[in-house]
Symmetry: C2
Subunit: 313 residues, 2 copies
């Protein structure tokens, strides 16, 4: 009996990922390349390279806010080139199959549900912890079609302005970008740190991996930065727990690599803050699909929608 296949596309960060995915979440072929301004052309070319005779459709997970009525992205500060363009119609015209659009973190949540760390949970929240913080919510086994912009929840109402327009967003305290910016500003003030010696002499090239590595070597500045970021992530976790009472929170993205300091601190802080009974019922665990969650989830949009027996577009 042959499997069902779909193309999953992840336009989440600086890379474009395109894969051929089976209904059970297995990836058969995968392409990764830097994303360009020519998004549609680049996607079409990539799909051409891995095309399969019998794909059932194409699913696209992208950074930004998805307008589910107009089937477009209306706001995507980290990927402006996707805003407003009708990529869905273009792909549909080119490949003659149904095309579905979702936010990238939402798609990743669906991926974890279908074949990752979320398999055993009915209701969970996925957080992507990278240069920015994104979220996706699975409720009773299904993806909630909501913005889930958890990184842009204000946790310091009167604090600094976030590029999104809000003030004191979680993103400004607990993302890699926020922690790097904090480390750099401490270094600029002359704080001693092992970070000075890494990154080829320029403190402006520091990465979150540098911070975690030096923290493990005992660097005070790096430990402080990671623990502070983790503490604020914990504020976000407690808010999620108090509002959504999920069975699990699944953490994905590069910062999961800093689990032993950053995430541990977050869990400790959340345990102090969230309603005790709700905290005791939630499991906080790492993603099991890593970078593949987005493409798998995007492909699963196709199977999910087609199994609903919606009239095809």
């Amino acid at each position: 009996m042959s499997k069902n296949y779909a193309i999953g596309i992840d336009l989440g960060g600086t890379n474009l990922r395109v894969a051929l995915v089976a209904e059970d979440g297995e990836i058969l072929k995968k392409i990764k390349k830097p994303s360009t301004e020519e998004i549609v052309a680049s996607i079409i070319e990539s799909i051409g390279e891995i095309r399969h005779d019998s794909i059932q459709g194409i699913g696209l997970g992208t950074a930004g806010l998805v307008d589910r009525v107009k089937n477009r992205v209306f706001f995507s500060p980290n990927l402006r080139a996707i805003e407003g363009i009708d990529v869905v119609s273009e792909l549909r015209r080119t490949f003659g199959v149904p095309v579905f659009l979702e936010n990238d973190a939402n798609a990743a949540a669906l991926g974890e549900k279908v074949s990752g760390a979320g398999k055993g949970f009915g209701t969970f929240v996925l957080l992507t912890l990278g240069s920015a913080i994104g979220g996706g919510i699975i409720y009773k086994g299904k993806l909630l079609e909501e913005s889930a912009e958890i990184g842009h929840m204000s946790i310091q109402a009167d604090a600094e302005k976030c590029p999104c327009g809000n003030m004191g967003c979680l993103d400004n305290y607990a993302s890699a970008r926020a922690m790097i910016s904090k480390a750099v500003s401490m270094l600029e003030k002359g704080t001693e740190s092992l970070l000075k010696e890494c990154c080829k002499g320029s403190i402006y090239k520091i990465t979150s991996e540098d911070i975690y590595r030096t923290a493990l070597e005992g660097d005070t500045l790096s430990r402080e930065v990671l623990k502070e970021g983790g503490k604020y992530l914990g504020v976000g976790l407690a808010n999620i727990i108090n509002i959504l009472s999920p069975e699990a929170i699944i953490l994905a993205g590069g910062l999961v690599g800093a689990w032993n300091i950053y995430v541990q601190e977050a869990i400790k802080e959340a345990s102090r803050r969230a309603f005790k009974d709700l905290f005791d019922s939630v499991k906080i665990i790492p993603s099991s699909l890593g970078d593949n969650a987005g493409i798998i989830g995007a492909a699963c949009l196709v199977f999910k929608e087609l199994s609903r027996d919606l009239p095809l577009p």
Copy 2:
């Protein structure tokens, strides 16, 4: 053709409300009395007074966190007497009909969906704005079985401790309790205000109605307190909008009476903070059922559950 009926119970605040409700949300009989420590006895007596020959079940909306597995309330700081007791089994034994338990604000959200301001919306959030702040979420027409403790979302991560254990909860900035406490502390410091003359000479008897009334008379302190509370409510609204992208936010509870200052300020603040496209798509409107939303919603738990064809308990 005869209608279907259920008993709806609202154990939300200081009062116990019990009503006979038809499936379309119509209230046929209603009892309201102060809640006592003898919760179960009091409920049984009230149901006896309005009992109907053919009720299909009993729905109970109560303050606190509901454990949906054990069918109990595990934490209810404002109604300790309900914690841990097996009211569901007791009512089922006494009346021989199915009994369903929900959080009171969740039940109110369901009530607004069935026959109130939420009728025309698929996805909305209901906020109860009273001495405390509660929430309930309707997604694609159905009640999300989640805690929805939106009042206990931290919006000032490093601020004062909330009685719930978290720090800087929305409840501590935007509830009636918070605003009254702010007004009292300003009066204690000697700030001039019309509030001094009302409330029979004791500033410790001030109500949120006093604050709104004197604010309308031009009192500076009262206007300031309401505007500040409204501003923080706006922070909460923006967080809800960014995370849940609802079609509407429905505001219920006593503070809705202070719409022209408090809620207007909240809407202004939310418009500054939330993602513009999401803010532009949300309607922020008052509840249309008022105090009846909870009992109607509680009764609707019965119809909702029975229409699912669940095996009866």
